[in-house]
Symmetry: C2
Subunit: 142 residues, 2 copies
Amino acid sequence: MANRKKGKIFKAEEVGKQLRAAGLRPTRQRVALAALLGETHRHITAESLHAEARTAGIEVVLATVYNTLHQFTQAGLLREVVVDSQRSYFDTNTGPHHHFFCEDDATLIDIPGEAIQVARVPPPPQGMAVDRVDVVVRVKRA
Amino acid sequence: MANRKKGKIFKAEEVGKQLRAAGLRPTRQRVALAALLGETHRHITAESLHAEARTAGIEVVLATVYNTLHQFTQAGLLREVVVDSQRSYFDTNTGPHHHFFCEDDATLIDIPGEAIQVARVPPPPQGMAVDRVDVVVRVKRA
DNA sequence: TTTTCGAATTGGAATAATTCTAATCTGTTG
DNA sequence: CAACAGATTAGAATTATTCCAATTCGAAAA
């Protein structure tokens, strides 16, 4: 626990095990991308992760980054954040929380789950169940 | 007022005036699209409005629908709703309210503004001002 | 360790949504 | 009714993402 920073979803030495546990084979690219996600920031796009990977000398194609992000998301290791209808963001923080979205530079900032209180959400329509409640606080340069 | 349904942003006889007031010239296509928006449902995509227009015999190209939706949005007559990173939705209801988003069929349902209470939104980062707070309740077939 | 098989990656083509552009057309004003 | 500013058009261009068939690679068996 001394060495556990919140937000790190992968620990370098355990990436293999973690992937296996998620039902994904620890292939070269997946391990490398997982390592990057474990070490760096919280909000990424396929494009940004691909750029990071290439900078780090990892040979991986954009299509594979897309596939991998979706696989990690399905496995519950990442969460997709919808704030921009033009680009998909992924968050390494899968716990309950919300976001500030800066419309000027299209960046995200986490808001801890407890910070915001959402009350009196009406019941969903017949036959529907609430999957989750997303709050996006859109901000602009003042 | 007897004849005023909430959600109707345009009244057939006043479309011209309303557009003019918004600083937009009441061209044939704009008037026609505005009339459609005034008469029909609340949530549309460029694609769906284009289909409606063509069905109604209005000759307008998809690019123009996009332009018009953005112009109306800028003029404050429509609001863009971001719920799907792959498609843009527009809402004829520009008042304060939120949405249910059904992930199975990608449809939106309004939640009145007063229905949900969002409390304790933390202050935005330095130099930023809150533009608006969006709540999306994602639902799935149970 | 080598073989083998099934699943994963690849690169590129395909698709979908949206924006851009240059030429043409049309409201509006004088 | 003439002229101009601004709008529309079709299609090309762009961007983000997905799909696909061929190749490669990881893991379990031999």
